[in-house]
């Protein structure tokens, strides 16, 4: 790897590890200090490596520098604290006794604890994803801003407020006990799900960042599975869902970054390897007595990896959506369920059901109606697609709808 690529690459993989370990050591409320130390460490690398050449083991070099900087910080802090609270005599020894531990085991423990700390419901969802990207995935502020179609100032403000919340609420870095782990894990899964969706359905045109978001969500989900306390059926189901969806990442955009709809995708571009991994984790998810929404969504996603339009497929998908909607309603599930209904029970029934949904603010609703009326009543189809076009927000969506109208002529 070339030197100018080496540091950004290491930043992405190591920054988050250093921050997690240091935050755990000095306290979550001091996360900004941990970030400063990690940042300074990379700054030191940027000054030294171009001049002296990259060290033989760059990661070890970074860990050493981070350790020393952390130790200096703790000593300085200790002297300061000692002046105002002289009775604290033993802390200095304590610092030397508990070295900064950057062993693989402590890194992964710290990151897991960090995940629970960040995915805390008192922090607003948007900020959780921002913090996760920054602290767990080592994304730059600019990259986060691009993912959210926002700017650096807004993201910085959002992260600042989230960290303030961490201090106010005294959120600590720890894995919750067995009694509350299921409930807390649900929050973590929600955040990982949003992180993945942000990449998969994101409004951002930046394909590289979108893909990175998806694979970071997968990486974090894998981390949960590697720990026996968090290796639960719902986690496996979510990971299966992500793998199945990610298998189409390369097939769903053309070389100009334009969206290719499912029916038009080249199925030979679907990643068989990822489909296989999805199958593996869906199997692992099939234990316990609770059917989560992730189980249902993963099974639906499995059927999406089967391109053949068979009656079995659509009947299965319809029943999965029927159950999913009973667990948790969402506009997109209601629309997809109605599409599956048209495939399983016929368009006539689906049109009646679709007209009942009345999601008149949602352009996908009119796209669905356009789809259902096609070849039944093309005038109706066209007028619905035109309504969709008039309320669609992104250029990608408008482009897709225009193509559909074009096809009707």
């Amino acid at each position: 790897m070339k030197q100018q690529e080496l540091i950004p690459h290491l930043f992405r993989s190591e920054y988050s590890k250093i921050v997690a370990v240091l935050s755990r050591r000095i306290g979550f409320e001091q996360i900004e200090t941990a970030e400063d130390i990690a940042g300074d460490t990379f700054l030191a690398a940027m000054h030294s490596w171009p001049v002296n050449g990259a060290p033989p083991n760059p990661v070890a070099w970074l860990y050493n520098v981070a350790k020393n900087k952390a130790k200096n910080y703790l000593q300085r802090n200790h002297i300061y604290e000692n002046k105002i609270t002289p009775e604290l005599q033993n802390t200095f020894d304590a610092i030397h006794e508990s070295e900064i531990d950057l062993s693989p085991k402590n890194i992964s423990d710290s990151q897991l604890q960090m995940m629970f700390a960040i995915c805390n419901p008192v922090i607003p969802a948007e900020s959780q994803i921002g913090l996760a990207l920054r602290i767990l995935c080592g994304f730059g502020i600019q990259e986060i801003a691009e993912a959210f179609l926002s700017n650096k100032e807004t993201i910085n403000k959002r992260l600042f407020r989230a960290k303030e919340k961490i201090r106010e609420e005294k959120i600590s870095i720890e894995i919750p006990g067995p009694a509350e782990i299921d409930e807390r894990l649900e929050n973590v899964l929600t955040t990982l799900y949003l992180l993945f969706s942000e990449g998969y359905y994101s409004v951002s045109q930046n394909q590289v960042i979108r893909k990175d978001l998806c694979f970071e969500a997968i990486r974090l989900c894998l981390m949960l599975i590697e720990n026996k306390n968090t290796d639960k059926p719902a986690v496996n189901a979510l990971l299966a869902l992500m793998y199945f969806q990610a298998s189409r990442l390369d097939a769903r955009t053309d070389k100009n970054g334009e969206m290719i709809l499912y029916d038009d995708q080249d199925a030979t571009l679907w990643n068989i390897d990822l489909v296989g991994k999805g199958g593996y984790f869906l199997n692992r998810a099939a234990s316990g007595d609770k059917l989560s929404k992730y189980h249902l969504e993963a099974t639906i996603a499995y059927w999406s990896t089967q391109k053949a339009d068979t009656p079995e497929k659509w009947e299965a998908v319809l029943q999965l959506y029927n159950r999913l909607l009973q667990i948790e309603y969402s506009h997109i599930a209601a629309l997809n369920r109605t599409y599956a209904l048209s495939k399983a029970n016929g368009k006539a029934e689906a049109i009646i059901e679709a007209e009942k949904l009345k999601l008149t603010n949602n352009h996908f609703y009119y796209v669905l109606l356009g789809e259902l009326y096609t070849d039944v009543d093309n005038e109706q189809a066209k007028s619905n697609l035109k309504k969709a076009l008039s309320i669609a927000k992104t250029e990608t969506d408008k482009q897709t709808i225009r193509k559909k109208i074009e096809r009707l002529k």
Binding site: N322, Q326, Y329
Partner: protein, 110 residues
């Protein structure tokens, strides 16, 4: 859902068709975000305890009607709930009926 005769035994194929129709019906209500909960009731092991505390099997025989299940929906009015009820596959059975009732609030009002 009220069945005229709970002692009728359906074939597995028939059960499967009803199951799908019922799931599609509930799914349609859930797709409108109007579904709250649903409970199916088994006819097997049904007991009736009468006024004089005599326990009999079924409500079969002298009582001609039995409850097959209930579903709780969010509806703007009893009329809207009745519209949902119209599409329930239970009504495919002659003599079966759907009864629509408002749930009493726990604060003494209705």
């Amino acid at each position: 859902m009220r069945h005229e005769d709970g002692s009728k035994i359906a074939s597995p194929e028939q059960m499967q068709v009803w199951m799908k129709q019922t799931m599609d019906w509930i799914g349609g209500i859930a797709a409108q975000n109007k579904f709250v909960s649903g409970t199916g009731l088994m006819f097997a092991d049904a007991k009736v305890v009468s006024h004089n505390k005599v326990v009999t099997d079924g409500p079969f025989g002298e009582i001609k009607e039995t409850i097959g299940g209930f579903i709780v929906v969010k509806a703007e009015s009893a009329e809207e709930a009745a519209e949902f009820a119209k599409n329930c596959p239970v009504l495919g059975g002659e003599g079966n009926t759907m009864e629509v009732r408002r749930i009493a609030k726990n604060d003494g009002t209705h």
